[in-house]
C-alpha cells in the first residue's frame, strides 16, 4: 500500500468516514452496516485511522462527514477520540459533521463532540409519527427527537441538521404537513427531506413486493415533495438541492463538494472515494476491511476511472441537482469546456419543454423539472458528438 497523497492539494477536499455499525438495521436502509455485537469497535477505529494515514499529507481537507451506519453506536470515548484524531490531523477543517441517531445523543456526547472539533450534527429524525418510525424500523421515539436537538443546541451546536422521509406507506399530505411543521418548530438550520425509496433487498421492499404496504402513489409523492419545498421555503429555508434545504449560510459544504464533482476521500468499509481521477470503493465487509488494513493490503474492491467525457457528464448531472445548477464559468474552469456547447442538444430540448432555464451564467432545472429531474438529467449522461476543438481537462489531483 503506497501513500495516496504525496502532492499538495489546493482544491477543497472532503473526507467521509463510514462507521458501519448499527444498533438495529432500519427496514428501508440499503447502506452497508452490521450490528456492532460481534465486532471490536476499537479495532475498526484503529483501522480507520490507519487508512487515513495514507492521506496524511492531504492538507486541503475542508470538510469532514462521519456517517454510517450510526456513528453514535460507537462507545462514546472511541467516537470522541476518532474525531480528535481527525481534527488534529487536518487543521483547516471548516465543516465537521457527525451523523447522530436521536436515541444515542445522551450522556453528554454532543457536548464532547463539539469540544473535540465537530461543528455540525445531522440527526436522523425521519418522521414525527410513532407508527411511521415503527414501520421504518427506527429505534428512536418521537420524544427523543426533541431531546436530541435540545442536547445539540445545549452542547454548543449552532448548525444542526435533520433528515426526514416522506411518502412513507400510509402517510397522507396532512400527516406529512404535520411532520414538516414539527421539523420547523425544532428551529434547526438544515433539513434533508427524502422521498422514501424502496432499496432492493431491504425488508421494506420485500413487504412492498408482497403487497403488504399501502404505497404512496406517484401523484401524492409529487404533492408531498412540492409541499416540502413550499413549506420550508416559507419557513425561511433555501432549497439548494433536490432534497436539501438550509437557512442562509448553512448549506452542507461537504455535500456541495459532491455536487460540484470535487474529489473526496472516503475511508471505512464500503466507503467510496473520488481521488486522483479514480472512483474507488472499499470492501463492504468489516472483518475483511480490518484484516486488509492491518496486514497492509488495500481494501479497495472496485476502481472506476471516468474518462474526460464521463467527467463532463458527471459534473453536469451533479451540478444540475443543485438549484444553482451549472455555473458556466466554474464548469469551464474545471473541465475546460463550455457546457452550453457540450450539452447544446439536451439543453435545447429541455429548454423547449420548459424544464431547463438559462440565465447569464447558469443553466438550471426549472421548478417544473424538479419532480421529474431524472427524466431530464438522463439526457446529460452522454455526449452525442464530440468536437475536435474541445480540450477536455484531465481530472485534477
Amino acid at each position: 500500500m503506497t501513500c495516496r497523497g504525496t502532492q499538495r492539494h489546493t482544491q477543497p477536499v472532503g473526507l467521509y468516514v463510514h462507521v458501519p455499525f448499527c444498533q438495529a438495521k432500519c427496514r428501508y436502509c440499503g447502506f452497508y452496516s452490521e450490528p456492532i455485537g460481534p465486532h471490536d469497535p476499537q479495532r475498526l477505529v484503529l483501522a480507520l485511522l490507519r487508512e487515513l494515514d495514507l492521506y496524511r499529507q492531504v492538507e486541503s481537507i475542508r470538510t469532514v462527514y462521519i456517517g454510517g451506519g450510526s456513528p453514535t453506536v460507537l462507545p462514546q470515548d472511541l467516537l470522541v477520540d476518532l474525531v480528535r484524531m481527525i481534527a488534529a490531523r487536518y487543521p483547516r477543517i471548516e465543516e465537521f459533521t457527525v451523523e447522530c441517531n436521536p436515541s444515542q445523543t445522551g450522556h453528554g456526547l454532543l457536548g464532547r463532540l463539539r469540544e473535540a472539533g465537530v461543528n455540525r450534527v445531522s440527526i436522523g429524525v425521519q418522521s414525527f409519527h410513532p407508527h411511521e418510525l415503527e414501520l421504518l424500523g427506527r429505534c428512536h421515539n418521537v420524544k427523543q427527537i426533541g431531546q436530541a436537538v435540545g442536547q445539540a443546541k445545549a452542547g454548543g451546536f449552532d448548525n444542526v441538521g435533520i433528515d426526514l422521509i416522506f411518502a412513507i406507506p400510509g402517510s397522507t399530505i396532512e400527516s406529512w404537513r404535520s411532520c414538516l411543521e414539527s421539523a420547523i418548530a425544532l428551529e434547526v438550520q438544515h433539513v434533508s427531506a427524502y422521498s422514501l425509496s424502496f432499496e432492493q433487498g431491504t425488508p421494506l421492499d420485500k413487504s412492498r413486493q408482497e403487497g403488504r404496504l399501502q404505497v404512496v402513489n406517484e401523484e401524492m409523492d409529487r404533492d408531498m415533495y412540492q409541499l416540502t419545498i413550499q413549506t420550508l421555503q416559507e419557513a425561511g429555508f433555501d432549497h439548494y438541492e433536490v432534497s436539501n434545504f438550509a437557512r442562509p449560510g448553512f448549506a452542507c459544504q461537504h455535500n456541495i463538494g459532491y455536487w460540484l464533482n470535487r474529489p473526496f476521500i472516503g475511508i471505512g468499509p464500503s466507503a467510496a472515494s473520488y481521488w486522483k481521477g479514480r472512483r474507488t470503493t472499499n470492501v463492504a465487509d468489516i472483518a475483511r476491511y480490518i484484516t486488509d488494513i492491518e496486514s497492509g493490503f488495500d481494501p479497495v474492491v472496485e476502481i472506476v476511472v471516468p474518462t474526460g467525457l464521463d467527467r463532463l457528464c458527471e459534473t453536469a448531472v451533479l451540478n444540475l441537482r443543485m438549484r444553482d445548477g451549472i455555473d458556466l464559468e466554474r464548469f469551464a474552469e474545471e473541465t475546460g469546456c463550455d457546457a452550453m456547447d457540450v450539452f447544446a442538444e439536451p439543453i435545447r430540448l429541455h429548454q423547449g419543454l420548459g424544464l431547463i432555464g438559462i440565465d447569464a451564467d447558469r443553466v438550471r432545472l426549472t421548478d417544473e423539472a424538479l419532480p421529474i429531474a431524472d427524466s431530464v438529467l438522463c439526457d446529460f449522461t452522454d455526449i452525442e458528438s464530440v468536437r475536435q476543438d474541445w480540450t477536455i481537462q484531465s481530472v485534477p489531483n
Binding site: 467521509y16 422521498s195 425509496s197 415533495y225 451533479l318 419532480p371 421529474i372 427524466s375 439526457d379 449522461t381
Partner: protein
C-alpha cells in the same frame, strides 16, 4: 403411350382424412415404392408438410397398373388440402381428368372438402367418391354416404368403402380409377402444349417445372417457348416422378412429368403458363387457369433492425418454392424497415410464418393481417390497395370496395346459435342453411374477408369445441361503407396504425387500439393525447398522463457511478424509441399493438 391407357387424377380430402396414406397404399400396390419407403408419406417432401399433416406443394407421381390385362399409366397429382391454396389446387386439378374425393367415415364431410370438390367440378374433373377409415369402430359409412349423396350427388352405390391404412378396398379403387375416369384427349398430332402446374427450385438443377402435356409432345433438347413470358429455353432433362426422378427422352400427350431447361430463377416461370415448341408453336395457350390472387396482407418487421438484410434473404429463399407469396420492402417511421407480404389466405400466411421461423433465425414481428381493397375513382379508374396508407384523397374516390367471400361453415347443430352470433358481429350474411344429417349443418354465408381474416377461425373452433370446420372462397369486391381511421399520437397521425374498417365498427376498433397504445407508450414529461379520427373528426380519445415524479432523492459521492449508469440506461431506453413528433414510442409498443390485432 396410347392416351386411352393414361389416367390423370388428384385426391381431394380434408386434413387427416387419409389422403397421404391412400397415396402411399396406391404407390405400394402399383409397386412404385416399397412399404418401407412409404413410411414417411412419400408425397410430402417438406418437413413442414409432414408435421402439419397437410401438403403445401402439388407433387406428381407416375404409377404403372395392370387392369383388365392392360397396363395403365396412372398419374397421381397431389393437391393441398386447404382452399387457401385455391390456386395450387386449381392448377393441379386442371392437369387432371378426374378426382378422388376422400371423406373420413368417422368425421363426415368437412368444409374444405366441399370447397375443393366444387373446384374440381368447375375444372371439369370427373369425381369418384371414397369413404375412408371404414375399419374404425367409430366409422359411420352409411351416414357419411348419405352426406356425400346430399352434398355432392354421389349416389351410395358409387362410393368406394376403403381403409387406406389396411389397404382394404384400395385395389378396387384403382380398378375404379381405370374404369370410371376419362382418359386424356388424344391430341398427339397437334403442336406441343404443356401446362406448368407447379414449379420448384433445386439448388443444383435450377428450376424444375411440373407439367402436363395436353397436345403434341416434349422431347429432350427441344427448343421450347413459354407462351406467357415469351422466353425460350432448351430442354436439358425430361422425366417422371416415380420412386425418384426418372429421366425419359420424351413426354407424350396426356403424360405428366418434369422439365428442366436451365432456368435459374423461379420468378422466370409463371405457373399456369403454357410450354410450346419454339419452331412450331401452338396458336393459343391452354385456358382455364385462375391467376393467384393475394387477398391477405401482413407486415413483417425484424425484431432487431440490423436483421433486415437477413429477413430479406429469408423471404427470397421462401419465394424459391412458393410462387404465390410476395414481399415488398417498406419503411415506416414508426416501425423501421420491414416487408409487406401478400398471401393467398390465412393458412398460407401461417405456413409462410412457420417456414420463416424454421428456415431462418431472424426474430420477426408480424402485424395483424389486413385485406386488399378496391377503389373506384371518380375518373372511372379502378385501383387496388393493400395498405391504408395507399388510400388516395377521399375527394377523388367514388366508391370503396372490400373483398367478399362465400363462407361455408359446417357445424354440429347444437352450435348453430354461437356461430350465428359470431357471424352477425362479423357482418356475415346467411345465404342458406342445409342439414347434412340431423346433427350437422352446413351454413353458407356471404362474408367480408376483412372480418374473417383475423381470429375468426379460432373463434369458430372455440364455439364448436373444435367440431366446426370452415372454408371460404373469394367471390368479388363490393361497395361497402368503409372508413379510414387514423390514430393520432400527440396530434400527429401515425401511419402504421391507420386502419380501413367498416363504419359500424370504427369507433370500437379505434378505441381498443388507443387503449392498448396507452398501455404501451411510456409516460412522458407532458400529457400525450391519443386520438382516433375519421377524416378530421375525432371519434375517441384517451390520454397518457405525464410523469409526476421521477427524481432520485439521494445522490451523494458514493452513488455517482451507479447513478450515472442508471441514468444512462434511462436515456438508452429513450433512444430505442421512435419519435412521433415529440413523443418517444418504443418500437416494441407498436409491435405489441399490431401483433395481437387490436
Amino acid at each position: 403411350m396410347d392416351t386411352k391407357f393414361i389416367r390423370n387424377f388428384s385426391i381431394i380430402a380434408h386434413i387427416d382424412h387419409g389422403k397421404s396414406t391412400l397415396a402411399d397404399r396406391m404407390l405400394e400396390l402399383t409397386g412404385t415404392i416399397t412399404a418401407r419407403q412409404a413410411k414417411d408419406q412419400f408425397l410430402d417432401s417438406m418437413d413442414l408438410e409432414r408435421e402439419r399433416g397437410i401438403t403445401i406443394k402439388a407433387s406428381a407421381v407416375t404409377m404403372d397398373y395392370d387392369y383388365n390385362g392392360q397396363r395403365y399409366m396412372l398419374n397421381l397429382i397431389d393437391t393441398p388440402g386447404h382452399v387457401d391454396f385455391h390456386y395450387e389446387v386449381s392448377r393441379a386439378l386442371a392437369a387432371c381428368e378426374g378426382a378422388i374425393l376422400v371423406v373420413d367415415a368417422t368425421q363426415g364431410v368437412q368444409a374444405q372438402t366441399v370447397a375443393n370438390a366444387y373446384l374440381a367440378t368447375e375444372t371439369g374433373c370427373e369425381i369418384v367418391g371414397v369413404i375412408n377409415k371404414v375399419d374404425l369402430p367409430a366409422a359411420q359409412p352409411e351416414l357419411v354416404a348419405e352426406e356425400m349423396d346430399h352434398v355432392f350427388g354421389i349416389s351410395k352405390g358409387q362410393c368406394f368403402h376403403i381403409s387406406a391404412k389396411t389397404g382394404l378396398g384400395v385395389k378396387e379403387l384403382l380398378d375404379g380409377v381405370c374404369r370410371l375416369l376419362p382418359p386424356p384427349q388424344d391430341r398427339t398430332d397437334e403442336p406441343t402444349r404443356a401446362l406448368i402446374f407447379d414449379s420448384l427450385s433445386d439448388e443444383y438443377r435450377g428450376v424444375i417445372c411440373y407439367v402436363r402435356v395436353f397436345s403434341g409432345s416434349l422431347k429432350i433438347r427441344q427448343k421450347i417457348r413459354f407462351m406467357g413470358t415469351d422466353r425460350t429455353y432448351q430442354v436439358t432433362e425430361l422425366g417422371k416422378f416415380r420412386a425418384d426422378m426418372t429421366p425419359v427422352d420424351d413426354l407424350g400427350t396426356g403424360e405428366v412429368g418434369y422439365v428442366i431447361a436451365n432456368i435459374r430463377n423461379l420468378g422466370d416461370v409463371t405457373v399456369g403458363d403454357t410450354i410450346t415448341d419454339d419452331t412450331h408453336p401452338a396458336d393459343s395457350p391452354i385456358k382455364g387457369y385462375k391467376r393467384p390472387m393475394q387477398m391477405v396482407f401482413s407486415d413483417f418487421y425484424p425484431g432487431n433492425q440490423t436483421d433486415f438484410p437477413k429477413l430479406r434473404a429469408a423471404f427470397e429463399k421462401l419465394t424459391l418454392n412458393d410462387a404465390s407469396f410476395s414481399f415488398a420492402p417498406q419503411n415506416s417511421p414508426a416501425l423501421g424497415f420491414g416487408f409487406r407480404c401478400g398471401f393467398l389466405g390465412l393458412l398460407h400466411m401461417e405456413i409462410v410464418q412457420e417456414r420463416l421461423e424454421r428456415e431462418s433465425d431472424v426474430d420477426v414481428v408480424q402485424t395483424a393481417p389486413t385485406v386488399s381493397y378496391e377503389i373506384l375513382l371518380k375518373d372511372g379508374s379502378v385501383k387496388r390497395i393493400d395498405s391504408p396508407s395507399d388510400l388516395p384523397d377521399l375527394s377523388k374516390v367514388a366508391e370503396l370496395r372490400e373483398p367478399f367471400v362465400r363462407l361455408e361453415v359446417i357445424t354440429p347443430t347444437d352450435c348453430i346459435g354461437g356461430v350465428m352470433k359470431l357471424t352477425e358481429v362479423r357482418r356475415c350474411k346467411l345465404i342458406k342453411t342445409d342439414y347434412l344429417n340431423p346433427t350437422r349443418v352446413i351454413m353458407e354465408y356471404k362474408a367480408p374477408l376483412a372480418e374473417i381474416v383475423y381470429d375468426f377461425y379460432d373463434q369458430i373452433k372455440g364455439i364448436s369445441h373444435g367440431y366446426a370446420t370452415m372454408d371460404y372462397e373469394f367471390t368479388g369486391f363490393e361497395e361497402s361503407d368503409l372508413v379510414k381511421i387514423d390514430i393520432l399520437v400527440n396530434h400527429t397521425p401515425v401511419d402504421a396504425l391507420a386502419l380501413i374498417v367498416h363504419r359500424s365498427t370504427a369507433e370500437a376498433r379505434g378505441r381498443r387500439l388507443v387503449i392498448k397504445l396507452k398501455k404501451s407508450i411510456p409516460r412522458h414529461q407532458f400529457e400525450i393525447p391519443l386520438q382516433v379520427a375519421i377524416g378530421g373528426k375525432i371519434i375517441a380519445r384517451e390520454s397518457i398522463k405525464p410523469f409526476r415524479k421521477d427524481v432520485t432523492a439521494k445522490l451523494y459521492g458514493g452513488d455517482v457511478t451507479r447513478k450515472m449508469k442508471v441514468l444512462k440506461k434511462q436515456k438508452e431506453g429513450k433512444k430505442r424509441m421512435k419519435s412521433i413528433g415529440s413523443v418517444q414510442i418504443p418500437q416494441q409498443a407498436f409491435m405489441s399493438i399490431l401483433d395481437t390485432g387490436e
